[in-house]
């Protein structure tokens, strides 16, 4: 199984994986075939994310990019406690209340196609 497939398989089990280089300790998202810090390809493994992070930035999307989308919704870059950034959505709050640097925690979005994706909700 490719690292990408492993990541999506874990997401279906509601586990958020962060690819981790077992040689140098670097963590990266999205998963890929090489460590972008040390360049090694052979010792890539995983850390399971604690599920906390902060909003690096966000935008409320007001126009649908396609028929499957129903704006407004919040697209965000979330910085995981483990370090890497992730593109995601902030859910569970009115779009107008999201702020940069706001603490958020992991939740899951089960999509009609059967895939499950990480999303984030405001930390209480």
């Amino acid at each position: 199984m490719s690292p990408v497939d492993e990541w999506f398989a874990a997401a279906r089990e509601r586990r958020l994986l962060v690819q981790t280089c077992l040689a140098c300790g670097h963590r990266q998202h999205h998963p890929r075939a090489v460590c972008t810090r040390c360049g090694r390809m052979k010792r890539l493994g995983w850390t399971e994310a604690a599920g906390t992070g902060t909003v690096d930035s966000f935008t409320v999307v007001h126009r649908a990019p396609g028929p499957d989308f129903d704006p407004p919704y919040v697209i965000a870059r979330v910085r995981l406690a483990e370090g890497p950034l992730l593109l995601t959505r902030i859910v569970g709050c009115p779009p107008g209340t999201v702020r940069c640097d706001q603490p958020v925690r992991l939740d899951w979005w089960a999509r009609p196609d059967g895939s499950v994706l990480p999303v984030f909700v405001p930390e209480e």
Binding site: S57, H62, R77, R111
Partner: protein
């Protein structure tokens, strides 16, 4: 450097009903006429976005068999990159006369999508597109949101001023899409329909047809041609990412490196530049670029533009054709930055001419702050 721009032209702009090939043919032949050269003089060709084999497609259309081509695809920044490659190719003797061109019928063809172009095999297709970002708008929107968070909500006024100033310039340019439409106010910008917050429709560049071309040859030869040569003084570029979660700091784009490299090669500093042509894909792009190129410090761009210095008659003439925001935006705008910079240095700009302009900078950004390329041009001294 020993290479000069000797010709520059636009194709028809706006809503043309013409094909991309026809627009590009117009741009090339008009730029050659401007240079006092003919198609048969061209032995180098650079373009992208036309087809899979962009330069072969265009060469065949024009009846050329070039000895050198470049179709590096870097979005709107590719054209500034081509200037660097063309200088190198001419200096190396691989070719003598290069045409850099672009043309798009995206407005007439209705080919622009809010979702952008996401190739299905890419990581962004699997890890990002399912969330529904607009591409590229939502990425620039996140940069703008972070900008306002770090530098204060009053920076929104500076973002709006970028669009207001662009309109003022467009009102002086009969070729501009918004020519004759009247001025814009900051309230018009912030009050326009929201697309991807904080960016409204008025923070986003136009969607038009259009194209342009520039012709380069050796400075020695340029001095025998009809127009005053515009010398390539320096160039630099940087390439960063295609995914929305890669770059660590949204407020420090690759422009920092591109600009530093171009100024170093030119042996010049930001204070030496008389007229600045920046790719204003979005209002925030201009603020980020002004800071990254060193025209002001980090977080200072909103205050820098707020006094109106970038408007016509101001001390810092910026995007003097009216920019992608109010003049023309055919999808990849970089070549038109070069066309306007050349015309300003030749003193051909009529009511929008910057008096005594001797050094111009053109900086283009492609994709989602993915590619960055800077060219410094100057009069022949």
């Amino acid at each position: 450097m020993t290479v000069a721009v000797v010709g520059a032209a636009e194709s028809d702009l706006g809503v043309t009903g013409l094909s991309a090939l026809t627009l590009q043919t117009q741009a090339v032949t008009r730029a050659l006429a401007d240079a006092g050269l003919r198609l048969s003089d061209v032995d180098g060709l650079a373009t992208s976005g036309l087809a899979r084999f962009s330069t072969a497609q265009l060469a065949a259309e024009l009846g050329l068999r070039p000895a050198w081509t470049d179709s590096t695809f870097a979005g709107g920044a590719g054209f500034e990159m081509y200037v660097a490659r063309a200088v190198q190719a001419i200096e190396a003797g691989q070719c003598s006369t290069v045409v850099i061109s672009f043309g798009s019928d995206q407005r007439s063809a209705g080919s622009r999508s809010l979702a952008g172009v996401v190739e299905p095999w890419t990581p962004e297709a699997r890890f990002e597109a399912p969330y529904g970002p607009l591409a590229p708008i939502s990425y620039y929107a996140m940069a703008a949101q972070r900008y306002l968070h770090c530098y204060g909500a009053e920076a929104r006024v500076g973002m709006a001023e970028v669009a207001v100033a662009a309109r003022e310039w467009a009102l002086l340019n009969p070729a501009a899409y918004r020519f004759g439409t009247g001025p814009l106010t900051a309230a018009d910008v912030t009050g326009a329909p929201m697309v991807s917050s904080p960016l409204t429709t008025a923070d986003c560049c136009l969607v038009t047809d259009g194209g342009g071309a520039v012709v380069l040859t050796s400075l020695d030869r340029a001095r025998d041609l009809p127009r005053p040569p515009v010398v390539v003084l320096g160039y630099g570029e940087a390439t960063s990412q295609t995914t929305m979660a890669r770059d660590d700091d949204l407020l420090r784009p690759g422009t920092v490196d591109s600009g530093r490299r171009a100024f170093a090669r030119a042996g010049l500093a930001p204070s030496d530049v008389d007229v600045v042509e920046l790719y204003d894909s979005f209002t925030v792009t201009v603020l980020l670029s002004l800071e990254a190129l060193g025209f002001c410090g980090p977080g200072e761009a909103a205050a820098f533009v707020a006094d109106g210095r970038t408007r016509p008659g101001g001390s810092f003439p910026l995007d003097t054709a009216g920019g992608g925001l109010s003049y023309c935006h055919p999808g990849m705008y970089g070549v038109l930055l070069l066309v306007e910079a050349v015309r300003q240095l030749r003193g051909e700009c009529g009511g929008r001419q910057v008096a005594g302009a001797e050094v111009a900078l053109a900086h283009a950004t492609g994709g989602i702050l993915s590619t960055h390329a800077t060219v410094v041009l100057g009069v022949d001294r």
